[in-house]
Amino acid sequence: MSRRLTSGGRYIDRSAPQGFTFDGTTFEGYAGDTLASALLGAGVTLVGRSFKYHRPRGILAAGPEEPNALVALGPKERTEPNQRATTTELFDGLTARSQNRWPSLKHDVGALNQAVSKFLPAGFYYKTFIQPRHAWKHLFEPIIRRSAGLGPAPTHADPDEYEHLYDTADVLVAGGGVAGLTAALAAGRAGKRVLLVEQMPHWGGRLVTDALPDAKEEAGETVAALLSALEALPNVHLRTRTMCAGIYDHGYVLCHERVSDHAPAAGIPRHRLWKVRAGQIVVATGAIERPIAFPMNDLPGVMLAGAVRDYVECYGVTPGDTVVIVTNNDDAYRTALSLKAAGIAVPAVVDARGAADGALPAMARAAGIDVRTGQGVAKVLGKTGVEGVQLCAQGSAGEVTDTIACDAVAVSGGWSPAVNLWSHCGGKLRWREDAAWFEPDADKAPTGADGRAFVAVCGAANGRMGARDAATDAAGVGAAAAGGEVPGDLPGVPDAPEEAPLEPVWLMPADAQIEAREKMWLDFQNDVKVSDVELAAREGFESVEHTKRYTTLGMATDQGKTSNINGLAILAKALDEGVPQVGTTTFRPPWTPLSFGSIVGEAKGSAFQPLRRTPMDSWHEARGATWEPVGHWRRPYCYPRRAESAEEAVEREVLAVRNHVGILDASTLGKILVRGPDAGRFVDMLYTNMMSTLKPGRCRYGLMCSENGFLMDDGVVARIDEQTFLCHTTTGGADRIHAWMEDWLQCEWWDWKVHTVNLTEAWGQIAVAGPKARKVLESLGGMDLSAEALPFMGWADGTLGGFDVRVYRISFSGELSFEIAVRAGQARALWDRLVAAGDAHGMAPYGTEALHVLRAEKGFIMIGDESDGTVIPQDLGLDWAISKKKDDYLGKRAQARMHMTDAGRWRLVGLETLEGEVLPDGAYAVSNEKDEWGNTRTIGRVTSSYRSPTLNRGIAMALVEKGPERMGEVIDFPIPGADPIAARIVSPVFYDPEGEKQNV
């Protein structure tokens, strides 16, 4: 049984017990434990169920490569599914639940899948569930979905905080083992700004654990010396619990720091996302051990050999009382020695190689361990845990030669450099035949815009497995990354004995029959076995990507960290090709899964997107405005009074403007200043109208089109002086139009002497509209606002009630109207004054909906309603705004194209329903012919539709085929589920067609 040893455990503090629960049972571990080590220490070896067959799963590894030991953490409102127990630091009060089982981990109904597993090979679902057709959606898919899925879905919004931080580094080193520490020190000594990140809470990586017993102390000193040398350098920054998640183009690196996962507390963020721009990146991420495929290698209790010695040495925990070691290399003998030193029985090291004559096997033999060469595992015995192993000759088909009782198996199939980060941005790999691994090809590093490599790799990640070798490599790489020399005084690294080469063992035993291969797991989480990969090859899924997708090999939450190479090798064998010919799948960020919370950072809830508020916002709020988001702004939609509905409020506001006076917060309108000697030429190109002839003091309504001729924005342009225009845009369009202007100035007309400034927020703007508008303004005292002094479509600077203002005589409602611009800081004060002055005249504030109704009554178009990116100004009867005198403007050439001048285009008209009812927005008119697809042919559509309080009936604007030629005609609008609505084509100007009201 797995258990806590009475002594040992570098990382744990036996004086600090920590209580935790797993599936409701309370256990105790120590500070410094991981959840995995604490569970093992408490004798828990069954921790989860696999994805497909619901096989019992234990703990395989001791780090982020763990495929099996996934748990759901936290109380309900903080549920975090699929957390790896091997990287979860224990704290007092931690709660964990096992996953993918029902009703309990021990008795899981889903485990019935195992009984029929022979009928559920790779990709079986592509070949079945085909008939009957509706069964997939209603029967098969729901069953599959329920049995898949691993962890529970959270049910609450995440209550925790996250933050983003930004940093730069000349050299960023990923990985804090001996290679990373050495590389960082070499780079730091060169005086460069260095950032060193390590995903685990400890420095030194495997150095101490992998050192031989008599060298452990020295190894510990090496780590300490490296650390203190680094800490002495002010230009070096060290961060533990910080995972380098991804490397992107231009040296952009994403690091993820677990700030308080191990010690939850209010007021500090849970995770921190670092966005680092690095000049050079040194990858020192070490290597990952791989298992060996032998029958029943997935039972709880089968563990990677390196992980076993991690548990023994770092946490004082053993996975069993009797541990058999299975290997094809010398390194696993370290585990035998570790266990032996801890007093655990090691009945045998089963070494698949013909001979094991290296120094490490010799030491094992000297320690009294039985080394059985040329042997393999015929089968692991046990149901939910290891009970023994049957041995056989490695070169055989699996005839059992011996049986050894044991309760754990430590397996090593060799190591693979952790090359993910190297590969994220395109670093290439090469196959090392002697070591049977892919390692970075230094000649094919990721390159930056200058064509030079910006990622380097060192240590075990570079295929330099020995500690001293790794450190030497790292010193050179670190120094080179910083453009410096290798320092002469680096701390010494203990030497290790020479290791004999491994022998690749992809199958154990080598001639295993199909029955055995069906029980050899490659991907433990997704239940992909040797037979599955072989099946894929047999069926023609020869590309490694096809095999991956067909079998789901390497697609689990560990992304194949322990299974990929084994799977590739099996595929290569099945295809009778070399492993390098088969190649790898693509390595994608992140290195290990990254919390969404940390990606979001602070930008959630009310901070999700900046809410832009006008200076009058709080007034609107106090008046009970209902809001409408427009771009990033919020604008009052209407101001309902007490029991009023929104419709009633809008109606009242419209009538107030028509009969008395209304006041509108127009501050969100875009205001872009265009200035310079070429300003006139520039606005002539931007607008369809002739703008350069506008006189200072005058305004003109202008249209802007895309290069394709489609109407994209409109607004009033005021000429301020000879070289200055102020261009008003729609609220939603301001930023886009400003960018559009800059695009042309910076990319096409870079020699024009013009600059633009977006002044939208610098000014508050207030529209006062209605027959009594002038009276209200005059009551404030100040500038002359008479029709003579300030005629329609004119503007003037002056004062009103002591405020410096600019007043425009423009109207979007058809009434006498003034738009008053005032410095943003004074806008609220002026607003208050106007509101007070308006009281005597029956003035009402009005919102966006009343604005829309007013303009529709008047037949004014609205960008986004009458235009939708397919409409040209000519469609809207706006030919008058298109200058015939100009050589060119943006969109002119496009508007001459065949389809744009087609007589059959849909054009703007007004509609009056025969019964006075309101047409639904967006309804289509139909003819009685069929179109080419056999549907009823459409001949028009409603672009805006309102109940007009002024006319007391429904009015609408519409685009209708040849519309203006069909005045008086009645057309039908079918309404699904109701009778069609008939409407007569009329002029779109419903109110004051002569324009007498606005021009007084």
Partner: protein
């Protein structure tokens, strides 16, 4: 070829699955074909399939520079819907969607078409009007959609936050028969059926040149030698510009990265597909349990199949805002594909200036759903050397005439 069925699986299961045949042959190229199709993505394979099925043309080769289905077909987020606004779009996408309904049976391959429903959220008044308009258009086009209110939205997808402080959900355009399918299976199913008809799918075979005589195509140069043909269909998505260049003409296509990502798998919590265009993100849950997430394209042109993190960040923000419970999930993997964008965001299915050469591209961010319909229409175009009603509006001449089919009108994100 042996048919797939539960019975076949049982039979094979008793024999340890040693008897399964190859899903498709791996032939050496012949010297000449009636039709050569470049690109074994979904569109290329479907074109081949319907050439054989609808027109009896089976002397066909499909040339693929990598592995079949490895382009955007194998990278997309598999949303299938046909609630498009413009008539020509609705016609081809609805044809496609209806072909998906029976594709598993047609191909004897489970493509896992899952009509779980697609919901496009309206979060501004402007979107409400836009989607109501689309619903009206769809009713006439024979596409079943409806505009539903916030309560229905919440009932269909309980994990949605409809009262978000920033953009409360005002309603949604709901297409109950939209959904998802398994992308690889679509490519594999068509490939198997094509191979079965005697067509040659040749992988690891890159087209490097296009041979012509007197303004007509005669064949292609490839990394596996010269291959003659009477007709040539270019169906290479993001690489269309490169192939057009080889043929001596230009296409109005820009290639930009589009990214997607998945979370770790969790138990089912979302039965529909939700697209939120105001905040710019969409999400569904795969049968494996992963939340499948996408957003907008990256803001620059590129051929590298990876993108910038900034876009991932914006998309995840949008979705955590929309679905607060996913905040504690983790991103498992992000990736990118190169999408082929036209100026009006609609595809090109067209004859070209070179006789016998046809282009099928421009599906951009939303062509997975179109695979069967596009193949159907393209087969007709190639077989008859003239467009049928499904493709006639998607010709190259529309750019010269200004006859755009602009779908961005209805939705910011078109997947």
């Amino acid at each position: 070829m042996r048919r797939y069925s539960a019975f076949a699986i049982v039979r094979e299961g008793l024999k340890h699955h040693m008897g399964w045949e190859r899903a498709w042959r791996s032939p050496e190229p012949k010297s000449r074909y009636d039709v050569v199709i470049v690109g074994a993505g979904g569109h290329g394979l479907a074109t081949a399939y319907y050439l054989g099925k609808n027109f009896g043309i089976t002397n066909v080769a499909i040339l693929e520079k990598g592995w079949l289905g490895g382009g955007n077909t194998g990278r997309n987020t598999t949303i299938i819907r046909s609630n498009y606004l413009q008539d020509p779009s609705a016609a081809i996408y609805e044809k496609s969607r209806s072909l998906y309904e029976t594709l598993s049976q047609e191909l004897n391959y489970n493509v896992m078409f899952s009509p779980r429903g697609v919901m496009m959220l309206a979060q501004t008044q402007h979107e409400v009007r836009g989607y109501k308009r689309t619903a009206f258009a769809n009713a006439i086009q024979g596409v079943k959609t409806e505009f539903v209110g916030p309560e229905r939205v919440k009932a269909l997808c309980p994990i949605l936050n409809i009262d978000g402080p920033r953009y409360p959900v005002l309603g949604a355009l709901w297409q109950a028969r939209g959904g998802t399918a398994r992308h690889d299976a679509v490519a594999w199913g068509y490939a198997r059926a094509c191979s079965e008809m005697g067509m040659d799918i040749i992988q690891q075979c890159e087209v490097t040149g296009i041979r012509q005589e007197g303004g007509r195509v005669t064949g292609v140069d490839t990394t596996k030698g010269e291959i003659g043909c009477d007709k040539l269909a270019l169906v290479v998505a993001g690489h269309s510009g490169r192939l057009a260049e080889m043929a001596g003409f230009r296409l109005p296509i820009e290639s930009v990265p589009l990214q997607a990502l998945v979370s770790e798998p969790i138990k089912p919590c979302m039965d529909v597909v939700v697209m939120a265009n105001t905040v710019h993100g969409y999400m569904s849950q795969s049968d494996k349990g992963e939340m499948v997430i996408g957003g907008g394209t990256d803001g620059y042109n590129a051929y590298t199949q990876r993108g910038s993190f900034q876009h991932v960040e914006e998309t995840v923000r949008a979705l955590v805002e929309t679905f607060p419970i996913i905040g504690r999930l983790k991103m498992l993997r992000q990736w990118g594909g190169i999408v082929d964008m036209t100026g009006d965001r609609s595809p090109i299915l067209s004859k070209t200036p070179v006789g016998g050469v046809y282009a099928n591209c421009g599906w951009g961010t939303g062509g997975f759903k179109a695979i069967p319909g596009s193949g159907w229409a393209m087969a007709e175009l190639v077989a008859k050397d003239a467009p049928g009603p499904l493709s006639s509006h998607f010709g190259l001449d529309r750019f010269r005439a200004g006859r755009f089919i602009d779908e961005s009108v209805a939705a910011g994100v078109a997947h």
